[in-house]
Symmetry: C2
Subunit: 428 residues, 2 copies
Amino acid sequence: MTTLSPHDSKSPVIQAAHRAKDAAAVLAPLPRAKKDEALLAIADALEARTAEIVEANAKDVAKAREAGTSDALIDRLTLTPERVRAIASDVRDVVALPDPVGEVVRGSTLPNGLDLRQVRVPLGVVGIIYEARPNVTVDAAALCLKSGNAVLLRGSASAYESNTALVRVLRDAVDGAGLPADAVQLVPGESRESVRELMRARGLVDVLIPRGGASLIQTVVNESTVPVIETGTGNCHVYIDAQADIDTAVDVLINSKAQRPSVCNAAETLLVHQDIAAEFLPRALDALADAGVTVHADARVMAYAKESRATVVEATEEDWETEYLSYDIAAAVVDSLDKAVEHIRRWSSGHTEAIVTTSQQAARRFTQLVDSTTVAVNASTRFTDGGQFGFGAEIGISTQKLHARGPMGLPELTSTKYILTGDGHIRG
Amino acid sequence: MTTLSPHDSKSPVIQAAHRAKDAAAVLAPLPRAKKDEALLAIADALEARTAEIVEANAKDVAKAREAGTSDALIDRLTLTPERVRAIASDVRDVVALPDPVGEVVRGSTLPNGLDLRQVRVPLGVVGIIYEARPNVTVDAAALCLKSGNAVLLRGSASAYESNTALVRVLRDAVDGAGLPADAVQLVPGESRESVRELMRARGLVDVLIPRGGASLIQTVVNESTVPVIETGTGNCHVYIDAQADIDTAVDVLINSKAQRPSVCNAAETLLVHQDIAAEFLPRALDALADAGVTVHADARVMAYAKESRATVVEATEEDWETEYLSYDIAAAVVDSLDKAVEHIRRWSSGHTEAIVTTSQQAARRFTQLVDSTTVAVNASTRFTDGGQFGFGAEIGISTQKLHARGPMGLPELTSTKYILTGDGHIRG
């Protein structure tokens, strides 16, 4: 009379999703020790089969070179024996993290004597759509496995050989540890249609996490019926308040912008209170120049630029919403803290905003009014990161408000269920 | 240079959403006392203006009668002075609930001395799409206001006059309490196009919660780019284990099915372990008959039906996935607990499943393997409810895994943000 989920769809993507769902049902009740065993097997296998992985990767790299891919992208794509060892070491770090599954989030005995517990359970099937870096393949699989989820991986075509080799190694290790190999799968097919099928597999896939550029994320958000966690877009602001220590302000600004400009938690806009502009901007503009940053300045910032070493261009409205991911920063003078908040509310992607201030009142007001995943007081925007936050690992940084917001660690890869225990309790 | 969100869209729905977003920014930092004041003003206003509300409602009721609407639906639509008083009293109950906003969910001092706090914040703008009952208008507005959210209400055309009057009363009260009236708005327009615009207002509306029948919910899930919380579909199961107290089993079954069959937490399928079928089913079938329940039986249940008083029809595969919401139940005999779990995994909507057993091992296995919002052991499925769980109020029961699962109270209407405080910390 009853059978498990039908595997009779002709689509390889839907078939893979069905297999993932079945695997997820096996993973869900597993104790931590079993999952850690599989993760250790994965780390060992990555090291033992490094040659096979590097060889496959060389094909992707050769193809990328032929296609005239930039050196930066080729560097992100390349796997060396050292890099494979580092990936294996990251998997061992995941072994050391606590298992979120089974945690009792809350519990109480109800007035009628029923015992109510809310416990963490895996999400089920997690789909990850990502771009060139093959290390994401292993990182994502390890985090999903540790949290009891099956994973469907959809990497970029440019890393196809690398991902295929990595997933082969992962599946063999998982299988060898006695867990279902289908806990880790590459989404079959390289066409856009296969991505579309994945995005429409509601009921089979529990969540999709796109990791990559803004256009990838927009496509997934617009076309998916599977719930999506939006990640990564970071138009981050640094606001220098009327009362601020100038040295601190310059340090936080330069670190936020220039320590690693290519990442989502790098600052993209500087806002300066008018009362401190004359004191702060000359120093800041020189420091930005020394860091190699081009300033996209509004008229009030421009007034200070001429006497500085800064490379300056006139800001247009487009600059306020641009995530440069480069040595560029938009800059404006604002009349008040509230005007800075207004600017942020209008233009920010809601990732991270920092205030530099010596005023307790200003810090309190800024943190109350600014609605972003992270509000930093006298600290660099660059700290918004799962590793920095002590989560031990990160599957991405959510910039949406539902389910998870900010850096997502293992608990963010779980849902909960309620367990209600009685002695034949019925409702009156 | 900077202005608040542009209100220059020509669509009245998008304009309303912009106003809601601005109102949400005002609500977010408000302390509990201010929000409670507005809620008390709402309760008082509902009582003071009962005549106006009942009069508007009478127009909807008259129109519904003309249209030949069923008595049951007309009853759900009708507002009497007593019902308006009850609605006002529910609002006062919300005043008594704790404010989730500002709660520190977790916090620590990082190794570098940065203080990290994760605090609850409102979601922002919540859209509710619902069907005939006008009390939802006030309930939803009160819960959203208490949790610091602006609400966009889209009720059914059949309750248009009632909802318009209620929202007028609510907005006047909110305004009188010094809060932005646009915290509570009806979505303008009665066309389907206006719902479609609401579903596409990503970036303005933070979450949509459809409350109503399966087809409404499916439409929203399929068409919305705004994140959706799926609610309410309940194909709930009661499983009677091989070892079970027969009295308890009959009581839990009858209460789960017949105490209030029209709601989502009522049971729709009975599964019986083959080893207890001969003892349990004759008693259960008679008890179901006495409760007026028709049994849609598989062949093995049918074998017992002939000697009972039960009204029985043959079950087809369709019965296993049907949410009857009536005095009907599907019933099957299963070979084992694991077969019951398989059946549930295949057919359940993931709302609530109950096991009746005296075996600790069986209870443990069932709660581990069944992945639904609520798993009840020796308790009726009817307990899955925010009020019963002690949440004090409920905006709906989420049957999805992301963000919230099971009954949603005030905390489920919030997100979080991280506040990071340092002394000029920069990343090395």
